[in-house]
Amino acid sequence: MIKKVMSPLRIIAILAMVAVVAFAVPAQSKNLKIGFSMALTGPLAGAGKAALIAMQIWKDDINKKGGLLGRKVDFVFYDDATSPSKVPGIYSKLLNVDKVDLVVSSYGTNEISPAMPIIMRKGLVFMSLFGLAVNDKFNYDRYFQIMPAGPIPKDDWSRGFFNLAMAQSPKPKSIALLAEDADFALSAVAGARRHAKRLGMKIVYDKTFPFGSPDVTSVMRAIKAANADLVYVGSYPGGSVGLVKAANELGLKAKMFGGGMVGLQFAGIQKNLGPMLNGIVNYDFWVPEPTLNFPGVKEFLKKYQAGAKGKGVDPFGHYLPPYAYAYLQVLGDAVTAVGSLDQKKIAAYIHKTTFTTVVGPVKFAKNGEWAKTRTLQVQFRDVKANNIGQFNKPGKRIVLYPSSVKSGSIKYPYKQ
């Protein structure tokens, strides 16, 4: 009798336990959400969309391994339209409405800075993608930046260009500085200006030009008239293309030309400019030279190039995508090592660790920048017309700096 009375109770108890387990299991295995804004339209969308492809490759890779902390990884992201004013609202929504577990940045200095106040208020670790010296203004100890600019980003950015120039004989004596009027380019040229002053060079031209100027022929003519030994430029894709074309059309006679020109890293632009690029010394972050063949990078690029087909983005993905993959590698490795989402512990772990990534070993300095600069200075060589495939092979962008990954010597002056 007692047995008969106990049975329903036992059944209810078992059902209750099953219910608890049934509800508890989904709660524990709820996907881990990483939130970010990204430039998917607007002037920087080419880079933003390429970055997103790389990030999704990382997400697929990590989920194949079981995710992070036993949870599958999901992305929650919004298009910031390359508009800095949209960024704070996006991160507010990510944190307060979408309740994401981790955040990473959009692409580029102009899109990273506006997110900083809200990220800092929440005390979150913030992995950022290609921001130049953003943390100089904020001094946030949970900020980490994946672009290998170096611990003094504004100066390290152009250090290689000047080291190369000063190693030539006779040493260059004068320089022209030109910046497109936006945050990154201005910062890059500010560093170049300091180097020029430090080295006692005569600055014969130092101007800015409006972002998105349709034609820069007059600007290049004024630079040519200044007759500088070196021409250092900070510019964005449209301006970079115009300046390279104008330099060829007007016959610029500088001994070194380039520096911080965004766009010359993209295959479509490289193909169009073709031999006009020959001799230009410009920054880059990854090129298919044997000295930069880090473990995993070729496998990653193979996946990227397959994923990029038909998407209207850079087909090779040398410039940004490996770093977009790597900044999530760093975050993922740190979360796994710490074993929780404790932001303080994650930040402490990132500070003390050297990470193995597809862009090589990554160690951060106290300010969240790379502990040692690896901003490449590459020189275009032997570029042929109308051949995009050549840029996916070694020999077209020779690494001149830093010496640890050098693949050749400079051809100087840049145009005979």
Partner: protein, 291 residues
């Protein structure tokens, strides 16, 4: 230091740049200046023209200027269709001022998104034998990349001026903005006149887009950079005056070139808009506008 060589080169570079500005502003001069339609999407149609030139240039190696000319009838049809929608939805009901503006804003975003979904967001460029080469006359340097667009733009503007001044329909287009009722009394249909006018305006975007992609790389949203500048040119030239638009474009081009060469390129837009404000203060109707 100002030398004769720099001075003359700055003038020539300004003329070429201004010629290109005229091509982009020409369509807006018709829609905004003559039809009183605030077609804020005009630069986006220019970008559409750039992408048409890009596709045919990259796939068949056809010269971009030729593509721009050949596709003008297609853009004309787009323009006339657009006017039908605009008229039925807004103008007929008297809602064209605010709703019409919103319509063209929306259109701008739709075209941009369609371009992004179709072509992606990478920068696109064209190839032509003359790009990268320069015509040297004495110490004057004229890159063909700028010279060809300037010549093409001048021919297009001249053709439109001729059409407007020498044909019945052209005169009707100029009249429709001034006195619609009088035009009806003369036996012309203002709706048809406006439809043709918007067709012509959008047709100019086909060539302007081809010229743009010769000069600079293009991605779907790059047209936004031109909105302020071309509206300023149309207002400066005088609402409704195509010749005025051309002169204003040349003026802005030359001023920008001078500022970029001798002072600081960053000042160029500010000085350009400064001239606009100064002109409007002295002559509110613009350089060639009627009081």
């Amino acid at each position: 230091m100002i030398t004769l060589e720099l001075f003359l080169n700055a003038v020539v570079a300004g003329l070429m740049l201004g010629g290109f500005y005229a091509a982009v502003a020409l369509g807006l001069s018709i829609t905004f200046g003559q039809l009183d339609i605030v077609n804020i999407a005009h630069p986006t149609f220019v970008i559409l023209g750039s992408f048409v030139a890009y596709i045919l240039n990259q796939n068949f190696g056809i010269d971009p200027v030729l593509i721009g000319v050949v596709f003008m009838p297609v853009f004309y049809l787009i323009g006339t269709t657009l006017y039908r929608v605009y008229y039925v939805s807004f103008e007929r009901t008297g809602q064209e001022s605010l709703s019409g503006l919103a319509f063209f804003f929306g259109l701008m975003f739709i075209i941009e998104v369609v371009l992004i979904l179709t072509f992606g967001v990478d920068y696109r460029l064209v190839n032509a034998a003359y790009i990268g080469k320069t015509l040297h006359i004495g110490f004057l340097d004229m890159p063909f990349r700028m010279l060809v667009p300037a010549i093409a733009a001048t021919i297009m503007t001249g053709a439109v001026v001729l059409y407007m001044t020498k044909t019945f329909m052209g005169k009707a287009i100029m009249a429709v903005s001034q006195d619609r009722l009088a035009l009806q009394l003369m036996g012309a249909d203002p709706i048809k006149v406006k439809r043709i006018a918007l067709g012509i305006a959008i047709a100019t975007a086909s060539l302007a887009g081809a010229l743009l992609i010769i000069i600079q790389p293009v991605e779907p949203s790059v047209g936004r950079l031109y909105i302020g500048r071309i509206f300023a040119i149309v207002v400066l030239g005088g609402m409704g005056s195509i010749s005025g638009t051309f002169v204003a474009a040349i003026l802005i081009g030359v001023v920008e070139s001078f500022i970029a060469t001798f002072y600081g390129p960053s000042w160029a837009p500010a000085v350009g808009f400064g001239i606009l404000l100064l002109t409007l203060a002295i002559r509110p109707q613009g350089i060639f506008g009627r009081a």
